[in-house]
Symmetry: C2
Subunit: 643 residues, 2 copies
Amino acid sequence: MFEIIRRDGLARIGKFTTKSGKTMETPALLPVVNPKIRTVEPRELYDRFGFRALITNSYIIRNTPKLKEEAQEKGLHELLDFPGVIMTDSGTFQSHMYGEVEVTNEEIVEFQKSIGTDIGTVLDIFTEPDWSHEKTKRSLETTLERTRQACDMKGDMMINGVVQGSVYTDLREYSASAMATMDVDVHPIGGVVPLMEQYRYAELVDVVMASKKGLNPSRPVHLFGCGHPMLLALATLMGCDLFDSASYALYARDDRLMDVTGTHRLQDMQSLDCNCPACRGISIEELRRMDKSKRSKLIAEHNLYQITEELATVRRYLREGRLWELAEIRCRSHPALLDGLRRLREYQDQMEFYDPISREGAVFYTGPESRNRPVYRRYLDRLGTRYVPPTRKAALFEDTQGKPYSRPYAEQFAKARRAGYTPIVVSPWGPVPAELDEMYPLAQSLFPSIPDAETETESERLTFLFMQKAGFETVIEGDKVPDDGTEEFDADKLRAKAVARYQFGNEAAEALFREPVELVTSRKTGKIRNVISDGEHVLSMRAGDGMYTLRMEGAKRIVSAVPAPHMRVAVSDDAVPFVSEGKNVFCQFVLSCDPEVRPMEEVIVTDKDDKPIATGRAFLIESEMRQMRKGMAVKVRSGSDDE
Amino acid sequence: MFEIIRRDGLARIGKFTTKSGKTMETPALLPVVNPKIRTVEPRELYDRFGFRALITNSYIIRNTPKLKEEAQEKGLHELLDFPGVIMTDSGTFQSHMYGEVEVTNEEIVEFQKSIGTDIGTVLDIFTEPDWSHEKTKRSLETTLERTRQACDMKGDMMINGVVQGSVYTDLREYSASAMATMDVDVHPIGGVVPLMEQYRYAELVDVVMASKKGLNPSRPVHLFGCGHPMLLALATLMGCDLFDSASYALYARDDRLMDVTGTHRLQDMQSLDCNCPACRGISIEELRRMDKSKRSKLIAEHNLYQITEELATVRRYLREGRLWELAEIRCRSHPALLDGLRRLREYQDQMEFYDPISREGAVFYTGPESRNRPVYRRYLDRLGTRYVPPTRKAALFEDTQGKPYSRPYAEQFAKARRAGYTPIVVSPWGPVPAELDEMYPLAQSLFPSIPDAETETESERLTFLFMQKAGFETVIEGDKVPDDGTEEFDADKLRAKAVARYQFGNEAAEALFREPVELVTSRKTGKIRNVISDGEHVLSMRAGDGMYTLRMEGAKRIVSAVPAPHMRVAVSDDAVPFVSEGKNVFCQFVLSCDPEVRPMEEVIVTDKDDKPIATGRAFLIESEMRQMRKGMAVKVRSGSDDE
């Protein structure tokens, strides 16, 4: 039903297939079509704007005799003249707006089935942000009960099981975990419109992150009512896949234009200057003079173009592994959005699980908020637990713009090592030991040369803590290193082992570096290429990110030295022959996976008895492999049969 | 020739008229047309893209016999088929690229005249960033000498007098000041292309700001070679009016696409998804498959659309007084751009002179860099010199999201005052005394509720310094104020006078608040509306920004109490009758102006004998009024004849 095609942390490009056999790519936005007022015709949404799905309201249709009759007779797709996926809402939002609705859950679910909806919605209870914890909890139970009922009734229709819980993170997680166990098909997060209307984006982040914690990763997550272009990057970054927008049309009727920087009232705007296909060539005066209905249509189209353009941008950054950057830029448009971005710091640990161990592009720093990214936390965590200092004396060097640091500092580092000092650079990442400086993300990152006070202070604090934790007994400034050192050292070997510890853990690194160790370096760049241990080629190093790929010989070493599940993905018997030949591992064949594995990390594929049969890179993490029904789990590099 | 229509600090929307009578609006970009390879036809640039000016190279035309002949015969405009403004370059850039050029300054200036160029360029010497100070200085003298020669020769042609000086700020300022005294018509800043190519944006900021210091504000400033959309907001913010771009075509030939986030190589791009009129509907695969010349044309058009769209955005933010915000967002796209933005902090004082005393929109905070804006410096300066604490005891309150602070804190502030304490809020602006909290920019600003470490630390430091400087003897936390105070106070009167001191200075405020003082407040909002002193209506307060407008009676008070030039703009005799009737003051009639006046500040217009004849708001500052030949200097509110 839902397959992850590309990912950047929690964000994902997915392929969603309905039971009716329609497919759509996510992240996607579903325009809301009011069945009574069609500002833009559904057919136009499909043909001209490229929307492959929309939402309409089954409650309104059911309450409008003419529409009801036509929908039940011809079906919803013909009623709206829309060939794509149609999702229907159930009347919940009407209850939020106007109080009670006059329909039961059973009736509205049955009605949605009867008109041929692709994805119907339970009549969930909208939990308002100002509700008490107790009242919210009580209403959740009703929503869960109704969801169970709907799952039993759904037949060929897919069903939305809506996560509610007001602003209470415990209730959001509870509600999400309960939904994860039920037979729902899409996970909407509901009850968030008031938060968005009131610019309470920090709380929106709390709600989404708490929900994500409990949800089943094999189903698309729909942030109900979120469709403003300024929010799409942040929401996608948090792992939302589906969005919808009624505001494109509602705002248009109200002469409000949306773009990635916010909402602008026509009366306040000083110029239009918009290049979108709807506005191009039209001046603000002309737009103001248009008759109301023509103007509303034009503004609705403008709003839709802003949405499609931003969604395309979000997808592009996601594919390039740079979605954090885009979200950080977009969230500068309003201080309340910046609050949302800053609140993400509280979820750094949760996000770190999903963050790829390496990316193709460089890490661009956009401001102190960039330090909230999980890539920072990961580095500091692994440095703290997996780094073993080669000496007890440290020499501290300043950050320079030339990277890797060991290039501009070649002589100084060598001098320090001769004197028995381990060179450490005090960088915006915190402390960077010379051995690690070619590895992602350290060499593959760019910071401004004029530092901000927060990053400077934090970098010094982290270095101080690291000195203590790593057990350095002497610390001096790099330019105070004595001239007359005579210690011998092998910089390549120090680097080779330090990177292996960082990537695979200390035990595995010991097994991989059984003496005698020979390093093969590139004649052109001098960089490490292969690690030969005891005559066996166990590791190769990628030039791009300074990290290792694991060879079958290396995999065997790790399996014999380090108990399962470390770095393992075990597959069922029927997959063994294929994977041994070098075919990728698919979710349905995974028996178990090391819960410490991160996306893009080197893994050892084994059979059910922990016999290594292949090496590769994990595309998913344990919780995903366990719950996804479709898609690649491990991209296999070489199977045991290849060697 | 050049008139400022709108402004936002150093940035300006201008109307530039050539000697040939063509007009164009600035900021504007001039596409560079290579007379031998026209990637996009000049006629298309005019008709389809709306460019009203272009640059071509007179040196290349002169060296190509066929073009030379045609240009001299029909004129440049017919040669290129371009009805707008044509600027020609002189061969200087060729000397930067290929060494010496075979033409003298006299020859190339004469040649440019002969082909009917609107704006010709001196054969200046391109100063490379790696040149020594001495070598640069020597070359400047040659450039200045050649510029003098060109000015003598120019006739009906306008002339570009290029500011050079490598990366030396003293030489840039020297060169700019010399150009300011000559009869040149446009002020290009040259020799910056290598800085931009090498992403040395902090130095670019140094060069532009040092040049701006010396230049004549009555002439447009052209940042030679700057045309990348990602730079336009920052460059306009620094007061550049004209830009040019050869890269739209050069990059296109090289399959590189520009947008506001940077330059993207077609081979690295994962998708196109561009809504610009050139790309719309075309996929990345289609673009890659196109034949070379068609693809180059399409990419060149894409690049031009990105430029025109960003220029429109820059103009919109400029008109809305929000250009700082846009520049701060754009500069997040690359850490080197962020360096440029951060370097602006060094020029806060220089920029403060041009920063309007009030804006229509609110100040949105985008990150710690926002504190570089001159609006911060202004507030702290005036607080330090013009604030008089009503008591010697201060009670400190935390920043809240509700503004003005005296609304959520109404009871606490009253309690503090009864106990003899002056309420001070520790805000992201630094300390904010309760008396000032309705005034721009304090109430008209938005910060995230989750503060960053730098702003928090700085805010505490500033508050500490202020406590000492203002002479507070006791400082306590707001929640420690004793309950039983009995001091009497008049909060409105404290506010009324504090704002007057802030706006007009202490001496003027004393004169305006001669007792008995009566305050007229709004029945609806309770806010101060009018100040009646000794029976005379001297001041009115605007609800929008909490600042005063000065009445004629107030103006007379100030003139008799505070010696000139405080707040004065003196006009010549021939303007007196008109201004007295309420007509605006134009530059050519200004005799002198208080050099402390900032844009949008209340001023008193006087005759040459310091007799007040009108009140109004300054649109320009002293240096501009003195040097501009055209345009409004003071927007007069009421003349003495009205009363």
